[in-house]
Symmetry: C2
Subunit: 177 residues, 2 copies
């Protein structure tokens, strides 16, 4: 699965075949087929745990009191997930193949829509929706960038992404910083 | 070229062949080959005018006085370009095939790096770099989303994206709004 994600990153989902993955691993194609009959089955296996995590975060954020607390819980949860899945998240959010796949799983599309609604809830109407879209796509891409200053300090990266997201959404830091 | 962009959006660059485009247009493959011998040549022809525009925007922003005015000029210019190229920009920024291609053209990679440096110049170090990455990727993705409230009102979309970007970067609106 790690080999598949690396291939998705380099060649995109549509440009990746099970044959390429088995070649990369030095396995026969039938060894891969034993686990995944199609690329979609492989993609589903990769997405399943991340979407499960995201659904838990969305449900927890929805249970917070008030739209600002809900947006903040969603933001901080998503940033933590994005940092923990730093290799995977930028690949998943930019690739048209993943978008197609999500549309074929209405339960997962619904989770993404609930996430967007939570982030958009701070400001009514389109103003909130545009900011939610900027924050979600922006964080998913920015988490994959190399910042020389950060090195391996993922806590620093996480802090900076939360700060950026709060600014965009118009949320104050809980400690007023 | 419009057919190619639509295919990139649906199937990503790696999942698009010149054969698919000629099939879609009801042309023979040799009719396409008359104009583009490879998919990279086609991608280059699509990117050329956009990168030319972006380079002009970057040069204009660099000539503004002070880092805040530079960042604001870069932001407003990029949002205007993204709205004008609303079909193309979300495809170009998310696709790994485009990233690979940009790396093969150091002159174009340099333009993107200058754009990021202008947006990051408001705040020193990593704090500014993270916000620049969020703004650039966030706007490129958010411009492609459908907002029911906006309909065909692209000026409204442009305003909302500029507002979101200024917030993230910590820039005031010139009129203090």
């Amino acid at each position: 699965m790690a080999t598949a994600v690396e291939s998705f990153r380099r060649h995109s989902v549509a440009g990746t075949s099970l044959q390429m993955i088995s070649d990369e691993l030095g396995l026969t194609k039938s060894a891969i087929y034993h686990h995944f009959r199609t690329r979609d089955e492989l993609l589903e296996a990769i997405l399943e745990p991340v979407m499960g995590e995201l659904e838990k975060l969305v449900a927890a954020a929805e249970s917070a009191r008030g739209s600002r607390a809900q947006a903040d819980a969603m933001l901080t949860g998503f940033v933590a997930l994005a940092v923990a899945q730093r290799t995977l998240i930028p690949v998943l959010t930019g690739d048209p193949g993943v978008g197609d796949f999500l549309r074929s799983r209405p339960d997962w599309s619904a989770v993404v829509q609930r996430q967007l609604a939570l982030l958009a809830g701070v400001e009514p109407g389109m103003a909130g929706q545009v900011k939610a879209a900027v924050v979600m796509a922006g964080i998913a891409a920015a988490v994959g960038v190399d910042y020389p200053e950060a090195g391996d300090d993922l806590a620093r990266l996480q802090d900076e992404l939360v700060t950026a997201g709060r600014r965009t959404l118009g949320l104050r830091s809980p400690r007023g910083a």
